[in-house]
């Protein structure tokens, strides 16, 4: 582990990257089990499941940033809203 000491790992960040990896793995398995079909939802372009995940995660990041920048409330509320938004994009986007 000495080799990675300079990366200054912390538990939350490790959890974050592990969940990203799990998410990618899960999406791959899902794709093999039942391939996605590009469709048009409320987003202004045709998207596949992977596209919606990317857009959902990207906008979730922006929501979190806006929360940090504009309010002094706990970050957890922002994260909660972002998660809800992600689910909405995945389902109806």
């Amino acid at each position: 582990m000495e080799l990675f000491a300079w990366m200054a790992w912390t538990t939350p960040v490790a959890v974050f990257f592990i969940s990203v990896a799990v998410l990618l793995l899960g999406m791959t398995v899902w794709q093999i089990k039942s391939p996605t079909v590009a469709r048009r939802g409320f987003l202004p372009l045709r998207t596949t499941r992977g596209d919606r995940l990317f857009l959902g995660l990207l906008s979730a990041a922006y929501i979190n940033l806006a929360w940090t920048g504009l309010t002094d409330l706990s970050q957890w509320f922002g994260a909660g809203i972002a998660l809800l938004w992600l689910l909405v994009v995945m389902r109806w986007g």
Partner: protein, 291 residues
Amino acid sequence: MKTYNNKAWLLVLPVVLCVAFSAIVPLMTVVNYSVQDILGPDQKVFVGTEWFKLVMRDPELHEALGRQILFSAAVLAIEIPLGILLALALPAQGWRSSLALVLLAMPLLIPQNVVGTIWQIYGRGDIGLAGAALNGLGLDYNYTGDSMDAWLTVLVMDIWHWTPLIALLAFAGLRAIPEAYYQAARIDGASRLAVFRFIQLPKLRGVLLIGLLLRFMDSFMIYTEPFVLTGGGPGNATTFLSQYLTQKAVGQFDLGPAAAFSLIYFLIILLACFVFYSLLQNAGPTEKAEH
């Protein structure tokens, strides 16, 4: 139709490994830095989203971002039309064409800091041609003292440096238009403007989007040229995002805020990248259908 075959992954694997090595490991490190206060090699304190809060509310950052957007917008608004005009004016073939292409492409292959050096010399009032000429005309030009002059010098330098890229791309795009299109236009008695509007411009859409993408990204990341030319000054007049970031990370050694800033920067780029890429994808099929 393309065939579906997952063995293609074997062909892309080398690229994925090469790029992942240089992209993912540093990215993970930056994320780690962004949530900690790093006081020394063995002294780190977890601070959560503190740095993000700090950076999002940093007025200097807002100013740098504003300058950056203004700069990128000016670069695109001038370089793209100018590049198209140059491509239209270039002779189609022969030695004149080769000569003009070679001269035109020269600035592209000059190292970034040398570009800065060239303009640093060129713009000086005492030893530079442009600076001396402008002062000779009675203008009070001094890029090291006056913010407006410095800003304009950086802009002109970027136009000088990168317009040739747009011109080359557009020139290549123009060459790809079959002669038959022009003949048809002549028979219809189309004006020069109509030929441009209805034949040349639609055909150039693909290459111009690539040019737009490359120019937007590179101008958004500009660092070396203004650093050499003005060092970000006078004051903060030419401190763009990269410069501000590097000042923080290297100059003041504020690793945490610099990392948080890096991630925000990355998110902005990612969003812009997605928008341009979607446009590019939509431009692609129509263009292919016409061939």
